[in-house]
Point group: C2
Chain length 152, copies 2
């Protein structure tokens, strides 16, 4: 399995948090997603197509999503509402946009992000496609990025 | 707001249920999604890009998802597991693939579907993009399709 596509997504996420939120993030070891799926409260998900097809999801516990968007907006957001949805969608969009620059061989185009709000939801890639999960630590809390990409 | 893109998705969904599940579906009136977001248990979501960008989600209550995938596989599925995830992802994929044929002016490419499993999750389109919700009735139960597409 070719997982060289993972690093541009990790770099894009680190750069996005650094520039937009002035926050350092530390990636953990990427893992192939298996039966025990992690669950999330808020996820920004965005499709990728072109010479490869896939999607990324960046998923947060509720408290971390609130802190992340508060840091992004420079004001304290205390409830899950439109600011959170827009903020998490924007982060997914920017990460995907930056990552595709590092994956120019795939001529990726990105779709519009959607934001899933629901306590303890899980995200599954299509049958036969393995998702890679990358955990991240930051001063705002822990979160994960899930990447599925079918390279031809 | 140009919503002429909605009809090819409705036709694609009706055709998919007819051919794959031998089930007639009756679309309700498409509505612009507003503040009161419907919630779902299982959603297949897939990104669209090309000369337009967007995503569709086809979302089911748990009991309807079980019936739909049971009809698709021709065997009774009683729990939310890999068959349901694969089946709902496959339906999203086929609907998006059929719809893009009816929307050739946008040169759409489709991403890989992801399936969200989580009781009472809601899906939000990006800021500034209105999602169109289409409710469907069928003998397997009611469900909805949400379409967001930014045409340039």
């Amino acid at each position: 399995m070719d997982v060289s596509f993972v690093n541009p997504f990790i770099k894009a996420l680190i750069d996005t948090f650094k520039t937009m939120l002035s926050t350092d993030t530390i990636p953990g070891k990427p893992q192939v997603k298996s039966g025990n799926k992690p669950t999330h409260d808020i996820s920004g998900i965005i499709g990728l197509s072109g010479e490869a097809q896939g999607a990324i999801a960046i998923s947060f516990p509720k408290i971390v999503a609130l802190k992340v968007v508060s840091a992004m907006l420079g004001s304290s957001i205390k409830i899950i509402g439109p600011e959170i949805v827009d903020g998490i969608g924007e982060i997914a969009n920017i990460v995907a946009g930056r990552a595709k620059q590092g994956l120019s061989q795939y001529k990726l185009t990105i779709s519009l992000p959607n934001v899933i709000v629901g306590q303890n939801h899980a995200i599954s890639p299509p049958s036969g496609i393995r998702a890679i999960i990358v955990p991240f630590d930051s001063s705002l809390g822990n979160f994960v990025m899930e990447i599925s990409l079918k390279t031809k």
